[in-house]
């Protein structure tokens, strides 16, 4: 009978309408998360507080400081007079990096001898370290080749033939490398994972806890009717949340939507369904709503850490990558980022779709095996 899933869905929506708290949570949560993640997670490292230990005090060393400042990566806090002072500045957190310019910097430059500059970096924050070192070494390499060329041209004159190899990086899709652009589409996946899994896990656990599940089990409702009836209303909610984030992401952070919105909505269905299936699976394990909630939170953690939402998939060790492939979010992130930022079309993301479909089918089989219309 086709009507039973709708009867169950109607009942779920009625219950939801009376549950103001949950309803408010579902609307407010995506927005709050969006603002939190959008503003707080910022992997662009700029304005590293830096001190200078200039042992040379020459025009050349001041010029070097100046060129460091104009990159925008370093905020020069001033000069220090000793290594002890550097240590104090780093330990207290006043500075995160220190540049040491040796005493014979200017004279070495003039005589063409090799010079060692030293960059001391606070390693307790690895992300800062990477950026600081990359920027500084890039800068120094550039200066040193400039000097070399200048010298060569003074000596030989035919410098044109001696241009060094240059790499001109060109970033596509997110040219300004803004974190929000990267994070917001991913956030759709994270928030959907969180709410979809939790809502369905609780939806059945609640019936078990209140004794109404026994009443349902003793009714002629088929398993698939019950599962569909429970999934249907939450799918609608999933789409509402997704739209909310897309709009807010656009308005607040100017996140673009390059690809097809229709394609995104159609493909999201499988992701939402997979998450609901996970929730249902949890609900077959949980005896109480509290257990269902704990399982959902436990599930959320690997999703955030391993899916590529926070850390790039490519840099994960092999075992982590394997786990990651099993998470629906991993594949959805590629789809959602592909479509919103790169304008990916169906063939571009079809492989991810195969993965999602496989995960969904496995979950449905697993859940059906676990959920029987028996009490024990």
């Amino acid at each position: 009978m086709l009507t039973r899933p709708f009867v169950i869905a109607w009942k779920e929506l009625l219950q939801l309408r009376r549950d103001r708290m949950t309803l408010a949570m579902m609307a407010v949560l995506p927005i709050v998360q969006l603002l939190l993640f959008g503003y707080a997670i910022n992997t662009d490292v700029r304005h590293i507080p830096t001190v200078i230990y200039d042992q040379d005090h020459s025009a050349a060393s001041r010029e070097l400081q100046q060129s460091l400042r104009v990159t925008g990566f370093y905020d020069l806090l001033g000069e220090v007079k000793s290594y002890a002072e550097i240590e104090r500045a780093l330990r207290s957190g006043k500075a995160r990096a220190a540049l040491v310019i040796p005493a014979r910097y200017a004279s070495n430059l003039r005589s063409g001898k090799a010079t060692q500059l030293q960059l001391v970096v606070d390693g307790s924050d690895p992300q800062t370290v990477g950026s600081a070192i990359n920027t500084a070494s890039g800068l120094i390499a550039q200066r040193s080749s400039e000097l070399m060329l200048a010298k060569l041209s003074r000596v030989g004159g035919g410098a044109g033939a001696l241009q060094p190899i240059a790499l001109e990086p060109s970033t596509w899709y997110n040219p300004e490398l803004r974190t929000a652009v990267y994070v917001v589409p991913g956030l759709i996946g994270v928030i959907l994972t969180m709410t979809m899994v939790m809502l369905t896990a609780m939806a059945i656990a609640r019936e078990r806890e209140r004794g109404t599940l026994e009443q349902l089990i003793v009714s002629p409702v088929r398993r698939v009717e019950l599962v569909l009836g429970k999934i249907l209303p939450y799918t609608v909610i999933g789409y509402v949340q997704m739209s909310l984030i897309l709009v807010a992401g656009r308005v607040v952070f100017g996140v673009p939507l390059v690809g097809s919105l229709e394609l995104l909505y159609v493909l999201s269905f499988l992701f939402i369904a997979a998450n609901l299936a996970i929730g249902l699976f949890f609900s077959t394990l949980a005896k109480t709503q509290q257990q269902a909630m704990q399982m959902s939170f436990f599930f959320l953690l690997p999703n955030i850490l391993l899916s590529g939402f926070m850390f790039p998939f490519e840099s994960m060790p092999r075992p982590a990558q394997l786990i990651s492939q099993g998470l629906p979010l991993t594949h959805f992130l590629r789809i959602v980022r592909g479509i919103t930022l790169k304008g990916a079309t169906f063939p571009d993301v079809s492989q991810e779709l195969v993965w999602l479909g496989g995960i969904f089918c496995a979950l449905v089989v697993l859940t059906s095996l676990r959920f029987t219309k028996k009490l024990v």
Partner: protein
């Protein structure tokens, strides 16, 4: 000719090492109000759950409304109404919403659902409370909604698991009137209870104790088979008298009811001359002495006591 609605042979259920139901054979005919009696944990609910097809038996067989309980559970579910112990309603839905939901679940066609709900509201006197949220109803009203939900699809067989637990006496009485009304229309009702006054309202009874069926029959048959006789007496120092009487093997049970001492004798022993013989020789003065009707409760207590004695002797 009476049609058999429920039939079981040697039905058993084990939970690990615990045997919850042992070798229960029953037969219930159409239109009967069949009561399953027994103390808490005797296996009443387990038996009902097996009959409803939501718990697999570990041994024995049974058929309900013509279908096998082990292999055709889903067919059974369409033809029964089941009211669980806790009146499992959706507490955040209104009375009408609850009924509409169950009507939909039990496959009442969409076009007939409203009319059917109105009919049930009318019959159970819930009309005034139709919009009230179920969670805010008192015990008696919740019970009515639960019964209305369980009968929304007009099932030929109704299972009620302790339907009157926690309900006031007036509501219980009204509830029983409804049950008799349903039975008169041909609905078979199987219910569990541990209220003995309710047991006497059933057409037939089954006594379950420690998972075993001790006796089955009409209330009169069960009482007669125990062959008990009851007496009520009033006297000074009832506690001492009771202590004395309990030592006599002919006495089955002595209990205090206010100022009155009520006792039952075994084996058809005429209680009045026997009690006078025991008490007056020891100087007790009987103020009054009158025979009393033997109730199902007397029979039940007697059966449980006997079982316990046999067990302690065996041990």
């Amino acid at each position: 000719m009476s049609e058999t609605i429920i039939e079981t042979h040697g039905l058993s259920r084990r939970f690990g090492s615990l045997i919850a139901v042992r070798d229960v054979s029953l037969s219930v005919t159409r239109g009967e109000i069949f009561g399953v009696l027994g103390p808490n944990g005797a296996g009443k609910s387990t038996t009902i759950r097996m009959l409803c097809g939501i718990l697999d038996p570990s041994g024995g067989s049974g058929s309900v409304v013509g279908f096998d309980i082990a292999s055709q559970a889903e067919r059974i579910k369409e033809r029964i109404g089941y009211m669980t112990q806790r009146f499992s309603l959706y507490e955040d839905l209104s009375v009408v919403e609850n009924l509409l939901f169950y009507a939909g679940i039990y496959g009442v066609p969409r076009a007939k659902r409203r009319a059917r709900v109105e009919q049930v509201l009318e019959r159970t006197g819930l009309g005034q409370r139709r919009k009230q949220i179920a969670g805010t109803l008192s015990g008696g009203w919740k019970q009515r909604v639960a019964l209305a939900s369980a009968t929304i699809h007009e099932p030929p067989l109704l299972f009620l698991d302790e339907p009157t637990a926690g309900v006031d006496p007036v509501s219980r009485r009204e509830f029983w009137e409804q049950i008799h009304g349903l039975a008169a229309e041909g609905t078979t009702v199987l219910l569990t209870t541990h209220y003995m006054d309710e047991a006497e309202r059933c057409h037939r009874l089954a006594f379950i104790f420690r998972g075993q069926l001790l006796d089955v029959g009409t209330p009169e048959q069960i009482v007669q088979r125990r062959n008990l006789r009851a007496l009520e007496l009033e006297l000074e120092q009832p506690r001492d008298a009771a202590e004395l009487l309990r030592k006599e093997p002919e006495i089955d049970e002595v209990a205090h009811y206010g100022h009155v001492l009520r006792l039952t004798t075994r084996g058809g022993v005429d209680p009045e001359p026997f009690v006078r013989g025991v008490l007056e020789s020891r100087g007790f003065l009987l103020k009054s002495c009158s025979p009393s009707r033997v109730s199902v409760e007397d029979a039940f207590v007697s059966m449980v006591r006997e079982d316990e004695q046999q067990r302690s002797q065996a041990a």
